[in-house]
C-alpha cells in the first residue's frame, strides 16, 4: 500500500500512509486511539474506499469497493467482536452463508469441519454449539473460516483483547501455524508484550500518519512507546500544580486495598489524599479506566475493600459511591454521561436531584439558580439554560457534566478522559479547574491518554500496564521519559518464551 489517504468529514483519518505485508510474516500494527489503525485495515478489507493512493496485491493493482471483493481476493478479516452466531454449531458457523445448495448436508459439513479443526489444532468439535466454546476458540473458529476461504492475508483486529493468558497462547500457536503456511497476518493489538512475542515487524501509526516500519527485534520497547505517544507538546502556558500539604497526609480520603473488578483489572491498592491530584497513566487498554470504574463500582467489584477517611465502607453501586462523596465523570460522554434531549439545566441538576430524592423536586427557580451559577463558573457557552445539551459543542457538554458533579460537592472526583475530543482552549480550562478544585480541598483522579496533560496537572502518577499497576511516580520523577521507562520495563514479561 502506498500513500493511502482517507478523510471523514472534518477529520483526516489517514494521511499518505505506506504499509507493506510480506507473505508468511506477522506484522503488528500499533498506535494509540485515533492513530488510524482501524481505518487502515478497513481500507484493506474493503469496508472503506480509499481517497487516494494505491494498493497492490502480489504485484497487481487492486481497488476494493465492498468487503466481499476483498474476501474473494483472499483477504480475510477477523474483527475484535466475534462475528459468528452463538446459537449455531461450530461447523455451521464455518460454512453458513457460503454454499448455494438449498439443503444442508449435515454429515458432509461436520466431516469437513472436523478435518479443518484438526488440521489447525483447534480444540473444538464440529457439532458443538458455538456458545459452549471459550472466546479464544470462537476467535479461532472465525479464523478457521477465513482460512478455509483460501485467504493469503489475514487481518486480526485486536483478537486478544478479551482473552486470558492461556487463550492468547493457543491463539498464537494457531497464528504461527498459519505463518508457516505462508499466510501474511496483520495483527492489531495494544498489548506491547504480545506484539513483541509474535510479530516479525511493527508498523507504528500516529494521528493518521505513518511513523515508521521496524523490525521487531531491532526496536526497543521504550522506542516503540515514544513513537506511539509522540513528543509533541502543546504550547500552552504551564500550569502551577497543587502539591498536597505533606503534614496533612495522616488519613487518606479514599483508600482501596486489593480492589478488582469484573472488567479484568488485577487486584490493586490505591490511596488519595485530601487536595491531591493523581492520575492513572498507561497506554490504551492498560486498565486505567477499568481501575477508575472499579473505584466507582461502575463495573462489578469482585474483591478487595475500600476505606473512606480511614473508615471501612461497602460500596456496591454507583449510587452508594455518590452518597459516599465520590464522583465519576465517565470516559464515554455520549453513552454514559449526557442525556441528549434534556436541557443544560436538567442535565446539571440530575445527580443532585437523585441524591435529594425524586419526591422532593427542586423548584424551577432553584434549579435555574444552580444552573446559572455553574454556567458562569465553568464558562459554559450556551444560549440559555433551557437549550438542549445535544446542541452544545463537545467541550461545553463535558463542562455541563463536570458541573453536574461539582453541584453534589464530592470529596473525591474521578475524571476519565475529560478532555478527549475537545478543543485546546477548553482543555486548558478544564486542567486549570482541576487544579483550582484541588486547592479547595477536593481530591481528584485525572485520567487522560495524553501524557503531557497528566504531567501538567497531577502531582502523582500511578503507571499501569496490561491491567496492573507497574509503578508510581511523584515530584521530580514526573517526566515523560520516566513514564515511558516504567511502562517499558514494568510488568513481568508474561508472554516471553
Amino acid at each position: 500500500m502506498r500513500g493511502i489517504s482517507k478523510s471523514f468529514p472534518g477529520v483526516k483519518a489517514l494521511d499518505s500512509v505506506d504499509f507493506t505485508l510480506r507473505p508468511g510474516e506477522i506484522h503488528a500494527l500499533m498506535g494509540e486511539n485515533g492513530a488510524g489503525k482501524s481505518t487502515l485495515i478497513k481500507v484493506i478489507a474493503g469496508v472503506y474506499e480509499k481517497d487516494s493512493g494505491s494498493i497492490t496485491l502480489e504485484g497487481k493493482p487492486i481497488h476494493f469497493k465492498a468487503p466481499e471483493e476483498a474476501q474473494n481476493n483472499g483477504i480475510g478479516t477477523v474483527y475484535q467482536e466475534i462475528m459468528l452466531c452463538p446459537n449455531l454449531t461450530v461447523a455451521e458457523n464455518m460454512y453458513i452463508g457460503r454454499s448455494h445448495s438449498l439443503l444442508v448436508n449435515w454429515k458432509q459439513m461436520n466431516e469437513q469441519a472436523e478435518r479443518l479443526l484438526a488440521s489447525l489444532n483447534i480444540p473444538a468439535r464440529a457439532t458443538q454449539e458455538l456458545s459452549s466454546c471459550s472466546l479464544a476458540v470462537q476467535q479461532m473458529i472465525a479464523i478457521a473460516r477465513a482460512v478455509d476461504m483460501d485467504c493469503n492475508i489475514l487481518i486480526l483486529d485486536e483478537p486478544t483483547s478479551s482473552l486470558d493468558e492461556d487463550e492468547v497462547h493457543t491463539l498464537f500457536a494457531l497464528m504461527r501455524e498459519l505463518k508457516e503456511r505462508g499466510v501474511g497476518i496483520i495483527f492489531i493489538t495494544h498489548f506491547l508484550e504480545q506484539a513483541y512475542e509474535i510479530s516479525d515487524r511493527i508498523t507504528v501509526l500516529r494521528n493518521g500518519k505513518l511513523v515508521g516500519e521496524y523490525e521487531t527485534i531491532a526496536l526497543l520497547q521504550i522506542e516503540l512507546i515514544s513513537k506511539m505517544l509522540g513528543n509533541e507538546l502543546d504550547d500552552i502556558t504551564s500550569l502551577k500544580k497543587h502539591e498536597p500539604d505533606v503534614s496533612d497526609v495522616s488519613i487518606p480520603v479514599f483508600e482501596a486495598i486489593g480492589l478488582s473488578s469484573s472488567a479484568g483489572v488485577r487486584p490493586f491498592d490505591f490511596t488519595i489524599q485530601k487536595g491531591e491530584v493523581n492520575g492513572f497513566a498507561g497506554l490504551l487498554g492498560s486498565g486505567r479506566s477499568e481501575s477508575a470504574r472499579a473505584i466507582f463500582t461502575a463495573d462489578r467489584v469482585t474483591g478487595g475493600e475500600v476505606r473512606m477517611k480511614g473508615k471501612r465502607v461497602k460500596i456496591k453501586t454507583p449510587l452508594h459511591a455518590i452518597t459516599q462523596g465520590i464522583g465519576y465523570l465517565p470516559e464515554d460522554r455520549k453513552g454514559d454521561g449526557i442525556i441528549e434531549d434534556l436541557s443544560v439545566r436538567d442535565n446539571i441538576i440530575l445527580t443532585l436531584q437523585v441524591l435529594n430524592g425524586f419526591f422532593k423536586p427542586f423548584s424551577l427557580k432553584q434549579a435555574q439558580e444552580f444552573a446559572e451559577e455553574y454556567i458562569e463558573r465553568l464558562n459554559i457557552k450556551t444560549p440559555t439554560a433551557d437549550t438542549p445539551i445535544k446542541s452544545l459543542s463537545g467541550g461545553n457538554q463535558q463542562k455541563v457534566i463536570l458541573a453536574r458533579w461539582l453541584l453534589t460537592h464530592p470529596e473525591y472526583l474521578i475524571l476519565d478522559e475529560p478532555t478527549r475530543g475537545i478543543d485546546v482552549g477548553t482543555k486548558v480550562e478544564i486542567q486549570k479547574l482541576v487544579i483550582a478544585l484541588a486547592h479547595e480541598g477536593m481530591s481528584v483522579t485525572f485520567i487522560s491518554s495524553e501524557i503531557d496533560e497528566m504531567l501538567r496537572t497531577c502531582s502523582r502518577l500511578i503507571v499501569m500496564k496490561d491491567r496492573e499497576i507497574v509503578g508510581e511516580l511523584r515530584g521530580s520523577q514526573l517526566t515523560e521519559s520516566a513514564v515511558m521507562n516504567v511502562i517499558a520495563k514494568g510488568g513481568k514479561n508474561r508472554w516471553a518464551d
Binding site: 462475528m83 452463538p86 446459537n87 453458513i96 449510587l319 445527580t351
Partner: protein, 365 residues
C-alpha cells in the same frame, strides 16, 4: 440433532434441544398427572385426539409464529388474519358461486398478502415487527367487520360434507358404559397439522433457509457478515407465518363451519404463549418446531385440568399467565446458568431495558 449427537456422546445439548426436551418432559408429566387425576376422560385416546381436532388452527398458527420468533421477530397479526380468513371463506362459500377450492385459494391468498406486506415493511424498511404486525392486526379486524358483521353459517352441501368428514380408526377406541365400542375419530385438521409439522420442521433443520433463520435470530449483524441475506431471510419468515395463519383460518372454518367476528380473536397471544412454553425463546435463535404442538398441548391440558376440577373459567386465564411467567423465568435461569453469564431475562431488546440503558440508569441515579 440426535443423530449427530450420537457420533460424539460428549457434545453438549444445544439450547434449542434442551428447551424442547424440558417442554416435552413437562408435557408428559402433566398428561400423566391428568390421567391419574381424571382417568375417566384423559385415559381415552379420543381426548388426546380431540386436543388436536379442536385446536388444530392454534397449533398451525404457532408453527408459523415459531419460525418468525426463531428469526428474532414477532407476528401478532396471525389471530386476526385467521379470523378474517374464516369470515372471507364463509362469505365466499355462501355467496352462491363458491367452491371449496376457491375458498382454499382465498385463505392462502389473504395469508400470503398479509405475510408479504408485513414482511416487506419489517425486513426491508426495518420497522419494528411489533408495530407493523399490530397494525396488521387492526387492519385484519377492520376488514373482517367491514366484510360482514353477523355470523355466517355455511350451509353449502360440499362444505358441510367436508366439515363433517372424519377419519375413523377402527382398531383404536374405548367402550362406553353400555359396552358399545366407540372408535377414535380424527378430523382432517389434525392431518394438516401433522403434514405441516413435518414439512416445516424439516425446513428448519435441513434447508439452507432454515439454518439462516437460526443464524439471523442468533445474531443478525454476524449473520450479515457471514454472507447471509438477512433481509430476505426475515421477509420469508413473515410470509410463512402469514401463510400458516391463512391455512389456520381455513382449518378453523372447516372445524366450526361458520364465519364469525369473534373467530380466533386473541389467538395470537395463545400462540405466543404456546411457542414460549414449547421452548422457543422470544429473543430469537433458539427453538425447535416440534416444540410448537407440545407447547400448545401443554397450555390446553392445563386448561382442561382446570375445567375438569370445576374451577371458574377466569382461573384458566390466570393459570395460563402464571405458567407463561414460570416458563420465561425458567428458560432465562437455564440459559444464564449454562453460559455462566449474568442473569438476564430471555426477552428481545425492545421488551427490556438493554444492559447499556440499565448502566445509564444507574449512572444517573
Amino acid at each position: 440433532m440426535a443423530g449427530v449427537n450420537a457420533i460424539k456422546k460428549k457434545t453438549r445439548l444445544s439450547n434449542s434441544n434442551l428447551l424442547f426436551l424440558i417442554a416435552a418432559i413437562i408435557f408428559v408429566l402433566m398428561y400423566l398427572f391428568a390421567i391419574i387425576m381424571y382417568p375417566g376422560s384423559f385415559l381415552q385416546f379420543q381426548t388426546f385426539f380431540d386436543l388436536f381436532n379442536l385446536n388444530a388452527p392454534l397449533i398451525i398458527m404457532t408453527l408459523g409464529l415459531c419460525i418468525v420468533m426463531i428469526g428474532g421477530g414477532i407476528d401478532i397479526s396471525i389471530g386476526a388474519v385467521c379470523g378474517l380468513v374464516t369470515m372471507a371463506c364463509a362469505f365466499f362459500l355462501e355467496s352462491g358461486r363458491g367452491s371449496i377450492w376457491g375458498a382454499i385459494l382465498i385463505a392462502l391468498g389473504i395469508g400470503i398478502v398479509f405475510g408479504i406486506g408485513q414482511g416487506y415493511l419489517i425486513a426491508y424498511l426495518e420497522i419494528q415487527p411489533f408495530i407493523i404486525t399490530l397494525s396488521g392486526l387492526f387492519m385484519a379486524q377492520g376488514l373482517l367487520t367491514t366484510l360482514h358483521k353477523d355470523p355466517i353459517n355455511v350451509t353449502m352441501p360440499d362444505f358441510v360434507k367436508l366439515r363433517d368428514f372424519e377419519i375413523v380408526i377402527n382398531w383404536l377406541g374405548t367402550r362406553n358404559r353400555l359396552g358399545v365400542f366407540i372408535p377414535c375419530e380424527i378430523k382432517p385438521g389434525t392431518i394438516i397439522v401433522v403434514i405441516l409439522l413435518v414439512i416445516l420442521a424439516s425446513l428448519m433443520k435441513w434447508s439452507r433457509f432454515g439454518r439462516n433463520v437460526y443464524a439471523v435470530g442468533g445474531n443478525a449483524h454476524s449473520a450479515n457478515m457471514l454472507g447471509i441475506n438477512v433481509k430476505r431471510t426475515m421477509f420469508i419468515t413473515y410470509v410463512i407465518s402469514g401463510l400458516t395463519a391463512g391455512i389456520a383460518g381455513f382449518v378453523y372454518i372447516m372445524t366450526t363451519g361458520a364465519g364469525n367476528v369473534g373467530n380466533a380473536a386473541g389467538a395470537e397471544m395463545k400462540a405466543i404463549a404456546s411457542a414460549i412454553i414449547g421452548g422457543t425463546l422470544l429473543n430469537g435463535g433458539v427453538g425447535n418446531l416440534l416444540g410448537a404442538p407440545i407447547g400448545t398441548l401443554t397450555l390446553l391440558v392445563i386448561n382442561e385440568l382446570i375445567r375438569a376440577a370445576g374451577v371458574q373459567s377466569n382461573f384458566q386465564a390466570m393459570v395460563s399467565g402464571l405458567l407463561l411467567y414460570f416458563f420465561i423465568v425458567l428458560q432465562s435461569i437455564i440459559m444464564s446458568l449454562r453460559d455462566k453469564r449474568e442473569f438476564t431475562l430471555a426477552l428481545p431488546p425492545w421488551l427490556r431495558l438493554s444492559r447499556k440503558a440499565q448502566g445509564e440508569a444507574l449512572q444517573h441515579r
